[in-house]
């Protein structure tokens, strides 16, 4: 059964299977971000289409994509800094419940939304800092909060844009476990350039260089692919110079 299938076509074609962690990797400038932007509705692709649960959602504005079941995180952390961690997530749960246009009655009165938000924080291990202001979180926790906000939307597919960017090794480890556990609730499309991190948690890996896909398949197959090794290692050399 194909549940939460997603396809972006334009040289690049990929399909996220239900319950999978599907990673899109490649060196800087490989076109990952462009592909990500086309899928998440930031820019309209010149050709090709994006399908979500079989429906054509190409070029839809962000808020419609969310109601169709696609949530995303940002590479550069964007949380609501002045609000508490709980309120950050509660905004998302209220949005999903469709009550963000309600002009009467206190937002705190929506205890159902707050309860769900608290549940998600607990799931991701952020419940300890629920009442802290988001700006005061450590960098790693902010990244997790990003995921918590997206998860609160109960997406069928969750798009993660370099979730471990700027994280320490320990934090990265924790995040990797987290992503793996999320896949029980939603499909994940992960964009990364850290090959090592991706190998451990992905069901399928798609490798891009210079705007096209050079390999796609399970981690074992992809990591054994000589073209991937060449392209990837060559590119790594290119960065360090």
């Amino acid at each position: 059964m194909m549940f939460g299938a997603l396809r972006a076509v334009d040289d690049v074609s990929l399909e996220v299977q239900a319950g999978h962690v599907h990673s899109l990797i490649g060196p800087n400038g490989a076109g990952k971000t462009t592909a990500f932007n086309c899928i998440s509705g930031v820019c309209r692709p010149a050709g090709g289409q994006v399908l979500l649960n079989g429906a054509d959602v190409t070029g839809w504005p962000s808020h419609r994509l969310v109601s169709a079941g696609m949530a995303r995180t940002f590479q550069i952390t964007k949380v609501f800094g002045e609000l508490t961690v709980l309120e950050n997530v509660a905004l998302a749960t209220r949005s999903r419940m469709g009550c963000n246009l309600q002009v009467w009655g206190s937002a705190r009165g929506r205890t159902d939304a707050t309860a769900q938000a608290a549940e998600i924080l607990k799931l991701l291990g952020l419940d300890g800092s629920a009442d802290a202001t988001a700006d005061h979180l450590a960098h790693g926790d902010k990244r997790v909060l990003e995921i918590a906000i997206a998860l609160a939307l109960r997406p069928t597919v969750l798009l993660l844009d370099e979730p471990t960017a700027g994280m320490s090794t320990g934090e990265t480890q924790r995040a990797a476990e987290l992503i793996r556990s999320i896949a029980q609730r939603t499909s994940v499309l992960l964009v990364e350039h850290d090959m090592e991190m991706v190998l451990g948690i992905s069901d399928i890996i798609t490798v891009m260089t210079q705007g096209r896909v050079i390999a796609s398949g399970p981690p074992a197959v992809v990591s054994a692919d000589t073209r991937v090794q060449d392209a990837y290692l060559g590119a790594v050399d290119a960065w360090s110079t």
Partner: protein, 318 residues
């Protein structure tokens, strides 16, 4: 309810009671007139706070909503009936229509572009008020607006009108305080912090900004209606960019994003301007200086300074 919230409510109730009691304890008529003007400005400044402080949309054209309502209510009151609520309804219909149409286009942009396009809209209305002489009497302005009546009783100038204004101000505050605490109000805050993020949690950013814009204009319309009755007329200057600047000064000086800040800002503005213009030739220089210093050093305004002291007081007690 925490002790602090109760304390805040008691303080507000005391302030309202004090304002309502002023005309009956021998406060001079001149001061009451100034206060009436200040409270009308307070309504207007709170409506601006919804846009600037909550929705994050800085506008240099908020005089448009205020002046437009003054013209609509004043013209209707003079030509048809001076019933306050009917005139208010007519003014709101006109303001609402213009806000719905211009708001639909202007909320497509934000930041500096929004500030300047909203200024353009106000200038268009200003020019229309100047040019459409058969209705507006051009630069001479609309004159001969009768005293308002409520349920057939004509309201005298002075104390009765002052109390009506105070009631409107209090109702506006209570309504806006509920609005900004509602899911819609919290969503506006989210949009102000990050439009991208807000859109990514499924919020229709443009729709929310549009609604906030229309609500803000409608409340400014209440202020404009009160003002045209108070002054018995209006001129194109009510739509001028300098008026839009004045209301921004009130809101920012008082402290945006607090609702009560702009009220305090409006009252300070009216009384300071009165002091400055009578005693000091360079009031504009002084006012500009105060404004620049507030924006640079105290972005939270008077309310920020006050609430810090108020919080410190409660911390000290607990």
């Amino acid at each position: 309810m925490t002790a602090r919230e109760t304390g805040t409510r008691l303080l507000l109730a005391a302030a309202i009671a004090l304002l309502a009691g002023l005309p009956f304890v021998g406060v001079p008529q001149f001061t009451i007139t100034l206060l009436t003007e200040a409270l009308i400005f307070a309504v207007w400044a709170m409506s601006l706070d919804l846009l600037v402080g909550y929705a994050g949309l800085v506008t240099f054209g908020h005089a448009a909503a205020f002046g437009l309502a003054s013209y609509a209510a004043g013209y209707f009151a003079r030509e048809v009936t001076a019933d306050f609520f009917v005139a208010l309804l007519v003014a709101e219909a006109v303001v609402g229509l213009v806000a719905l149409t211009t708001g639909f286009v202007v909320t497509r942009v934000s930041g500096v572009a929004f500030a300047i396009i909203s200024l353009c809209i106000a200038q268009v209305l200003f020019q229309v008020a100047v040019a459409w002489r058969s209705v507006t009497q051009g630069m001479d302005g609309l004159v001969g607006v009768p005293l308002p009546s409520i349920f057939g009783v004509t309201l005298g100038t002075g104390t009765p009108f002052y109390l009506l204004t105070l009631a409107c101000m209090v109702v506006t505050y209570l309504a806006l305080a509920r609005l900004v605490d509602s899911p819609f109000g919290r969503t506006l805050h989210a949009i102000r912090t990050s439009e991208d993020r807000a859109a990514a949690i499924g919020i229709n950013v443009r729709l929310h900004k549009w609604i906030a814009f229309v609500i803000s204009w409608a409340i400014a319309g209440l202020g404009g209606t009160l003002m045209v009755f108070m002054k018995a007329g209006t001129t194109p200057m009510s739509l001028h960019w300098a008026e839009s600047g004045n209301v921004l000064v009130m809101a920012i000086f008082g402290g945006i994003g607090t609702l009560l800040g702009p009220v305090v800002g409006a009252i300070s503005f009216v009384f300071l301007r009165d002091e400055f213009t009578t005693r000091f030739t360079a009031w504009q220089l002084a006012f500009g200086l105060v404004f620049v210093v507030v924006v640079l050093a105290f972005p939270a305004g008077l309310a920020g300074i006050f609430s810090r002291a108020w919080n410190a007081l409660w911390r000290a007690r607990s």
